[in-house]
Amino acid sequence: MTALLEVSDLVKTFGTGEAETRVLRGLSLTLKVGEMAALLGPSGSGKSTLLTILGTLMKPTAGSHVMLGVDLVAADDAALTTFRNLHIGFVFQFHNLLPDFTALENVVFPTAVRAGRETPAARARGRELLTRMGLETRVDFPSANLSGGQKQRVAVARPLMNRPDLVLADEPTGNLDRESALQVMDLIAEINRDEGTTFLISTHDEKIASLCRRQIVVKDGVITG
């Protein structure tokens, strides 16, 4: 498998002077195309910071970050926004859906915001994804009226709209019961298998991590295993 992204000697500090906190301490990592990896580690180890940097929402203090051959450390905000829209998807722990929009409108958002409108093709793709998530009867439901599990499945479907190369999931099942969590993981595994999308899933749950083919352990800001 070819490398999708590569970060090396990644350093991230917050604050200055005595209040300075070094969260990442020279972390290096390579993810290959089509991988499904779990990111494990105790709280405060730097998992969320690493995901945030990999998602181009934050820049590292030092180190390199290259994805699909693009130097993302040197890119400006507009370039990063476009890159993020086309190549990276996010699944958050608390679904983070847009509350005033329907399930379909939430899913279609990443495509519509780029095209400037909701195209029929985008809506068809959105319906297809929601059907795949078992939400075909909830397509036009306001997202606020969905159950917790349904919301999280919409949140899994949303980053897939633009067929991204990488989906970063931060505790995607952390807020769900065991049954719902396993359902969501089944869906992620299915998409990984069928579409070749690379997943990096941050979790504390050993069971969830065991469903991934690779486990990456972060401790004190560096990869330990």
Binding site: T52, G55, L57, M58, D77, A78, T81, T82, R84, N85, L86, F90, F92, N96, L97, L98, P99, D100, F101, F109, P110, A112, V113, R114, A115, G116, R117, E118, R158, P159, N162
Partner: protein
């Protein structure tokens, strides 16, 4: 940007009560703007109509010749003709100039007149009066005599006279009665009272009389020409320029009313300035209201803005969403306020029927289009600060909230 419009609309409709209150606030501001425009405009109209509305805006008078002097061969002045109070100079070629003056832009009425003084006699009663000879058909060209008539008709024919109610009461006159008018030149005429008016101006009602131009010719022994030409304009503010133009065109002594009316013009300008201030305050209120409401919305929607940014929404997109919300609020508030203002002004009498004791509101001076345009522009400007704040939201911090 159709998609940004959809999101902006969705945000506004998601909080209906909040949006309705905001639009109402803007509408009230626009309503005040329109109400003030109609009031200030109507008031100015009212004051003008009551002060200079019934008088000539530009007047052409014949220039008196120098008094004749009899000088002896030795150069001594033997006799000088004393200048009389009565105007004797005439505009002999007035008829030639009338079409030329009427064609000047801004001129709405031209009235050639013969004016002079005289004595009105009814039995043993005598009153000193001013006499104005008007051309039939142009009786109401300057002073709206027709509008002030309380009895009879303003139509002046040969042998007819129209006078004020106070004068009629003083001489115990009734319509159809005959009276004798003797001019300052000593010519007398027996006239029939054909109309009585009340202008509300004590001087005019007590001492002014109107006869036909032909009657005045007889009374003042002027077989041709007139003593003055009065001109009314559609805008008093251009009286100076129009007078200059008429002087250049005709060579006649055209004098604008604004000579001597500076205080009135200053008062009207001050009133207009006051109106601008009040309308500006209304607009500022709108801007502050929209800005504060959108800032609040920006703060409330920080997590959503963070998600949008994470999903690939550019800063410009976020700015457009919030600016569009401001524009929509401005448009809805502007149109609602304008409609409210128009409906509130409907019960007031039209400008032609202003009466003392009522608010002189002029519905035609509501500045509706201007109010809506300024409101939309103001709301857009007001939304720029919240929109920029929204675009600066850090997705990492916002999503973590």
């Amino acid at each position: 940007m159709l998609y940004a419009l959809k999101i902006a609309t969705r945000y506004l409709t998601a909080s209906k009560a909040q949006t309705a209150l905001l639009v109402l606030g803007v509408a009230v501001g626009v309503f005040i703007f329109i109400f003030m425009s109609a009031l200030i405009g109507g008031l100015a109209e009212f004051i003008l109509s009551r002060t200079v509305g019934d008088i000539s805006h530009v007047t052409i008078t014949a220039e008196d010749r120098d008094p004749a002097i009899l000088i002896s061969p030795e150069g001594h002045v033997l006799a000088v003709t004393e200048r009389g109070r009565a105007r004797t100079a005439t505009l002999a070629e007035a008829a030639t100039y009338l079409p030329l003056i009427e064609a000047v832009p801004g001129v709405v009425a031209v009235s050639p007149q013969i004016t002079g003084a005289g004595f009105l006699t009814r039995g043993a009663q005598v009153a000193q009066v001013s006499v104005t000879g008007l051309q039939p058909g142009r009786e109401s060209a300057i002073l709206d005599l027709d509008g002030y008539m309380t009895q009879g008709s303003v139509r002046l024919g040969s042998g007819l006279i129209v006078l004020g109610e106070t004068l009629a009461d003083d001489l115990s006159l009734r319509l159809g009665q005959t009276l004798r008018l003797q001019s300052s030149t000593g010519v007398s005429a027996v006239l029939t009272l054909s109309g009585i008016y009340t202008t509300g101006n004590g001087m005019i009602d007590a001492s002014s009389t109107y006869v036909s131009l032909s009657t005045a010719r007889t009374l003042f022994a002027l077989p041709q020409g007139v003593t003055r030409i009065e001109i009314k304009l559609d805008d008093l503010n251009v009286a100076d320029a129009t007078a200059r133009r008429i002087r250049a065109l005709t060579g006649l002594n055209a004098v604008p009313r604004t000579d001597g009316a500076e205080q009135l013009m200053e008062a009207l300008n001050a009133q207009a300035q006051t109106g601008y201030f009040l309308k500006s305050f209304a607009l500022i209120t709108i801007v502050i209201g929209v800005a504060s409401a959108l800032l609040l919305s920006t703060y409330r929607r920080r997590p959503e803005i963070g998600i949008m940014r994470a999903m690939g929404a550019r800063r410009g997109f976020v700015i457009f969403v919030f600016v569009t919300q401001g524009a929509l609020i401005g448009l809805m508030g502007g149109v609602s306020g304008a409609a409210l203002g128009y409906m509130a002004l409907l019960p007031f009498p039209p400008r032609d029927a202003f009466e003392a004791g009522t608010l002189p509101m002029d519905i035609t001076q509501g500045s509706y289009g201007l109010a809506i345009t300024l409101t939309v522009i103001g709301a857009i400007l007001a939304s720029i600060l919240p929109a920029r704040a929204a675009a600066r939201v850090d997705p990492v911090t916002a999503i973590g909230q």
